[in-house]
Symmetry: C2
Subunit: 134 residues, 2 copies
DNA sequence: AGTCGTGACGTTATTACATTACATAATTCA
DNA sequence: TGAATTATGTAATGTAATAACGTCACGACT
């Protein structure tokens, strides 16, 4: 198991905004959506995001400069994760693949590289959107 | 084999700047280094980079917002590639791993996801820098 | 020669993303 | 309680990327 961290007011706001969204949100989009609810400046959003990411509750999508809530309740317990992102509808699938893990860890150990952060992102079309673009 | 594309003046400048660099460069760093050599505005750099990436001569590192010259002379012939990036010295190792490939392609086919672009980036410490931080 | 399409180029302005700096309040805990 | 730590608020600034123009060079065709 793992404990649920206590979220501050700002963190709750940001977390909820991400949870309510249908697709990844940029920091400034979060800001827009929280204007008037106590959030007024970019830094409030970025600070909340930083913590939420630390807690494992939120992921940053590097190829998008955007953020999504974790699909696994923040319970990764190590395993780096991969994302498939639909460029059409914004759907994000979060997954872990042992073959990918092994490939990467074999390479890193073989080359004495000490990884701190792993980014695996697939950009493309989800089944629905791909089918629709016939 | 594959043909070497003809580069325009701006493209040559940007390509050379990247080739001369010891580490990935951001677009604006490239701009700085090319001031006075005919490059004056961000867009000149971005347009050149776009083409160089199209040609496969340059890669964009998403987790860094920066660019490096391709290690394989742009000869990828499909295979998406992975990067190990040292956060201390900026060293970038470009590699292809079949186990990673297979893991990703198995997932995408299994989920009917059509990938257009793949990002795999490891951020951490290279052997040298990790050893030095004892 | 004249027109046209195409692709690269140049310039300015603007948008989008992220951090620095500094002052202030709240919380924790010895 | 009082020091240390953590969260906040606000403004300004820094960095990355694109929009929106218009121009120029060049080869293809009429
Ligand atoms: Zn997750
Ligand atoms: Zn879709
Ligand atoms: Zn390459
Ligand atoms: Zn290093």
């Amino acid at each position: 198991m793992h404990v649920e961290p206590v979220l501050t007011a700002n963190q709750q706001l940001v977390f909820k905004a991400l949870g309510d969204a249908e697709a990844p949100l940029s920091a400034y989009t979060i800001l827009e959506r929280l204007q008037g609810k106590g959030i007024k400046a970019p830094l409030q959003v970025y600070r909340a995001l930083e913590k939420l990411i630390d807690f494992g509750l939120v992921h940053r999508l590097e190829s998008l400069n955007a953020f999504v809530v974790c699909d696994h309740h923040g319970d990764h317990t190590q395993h780096p994760v991969a994302f498939a992102i639909c460029d059409s509808c914004g759907l994000v699938a979060e997954f872990v693949d042992s073959s990918v893990q092994e490939g990467l860890s074999r390479w890193t150990t073989g080359h004495a590289f000490r990884p701190k952060r792993v980014t695996v992102e697939l950009r493309g079309l989800c089944e629905t959107c791909d089918g629709a673009s016939k």
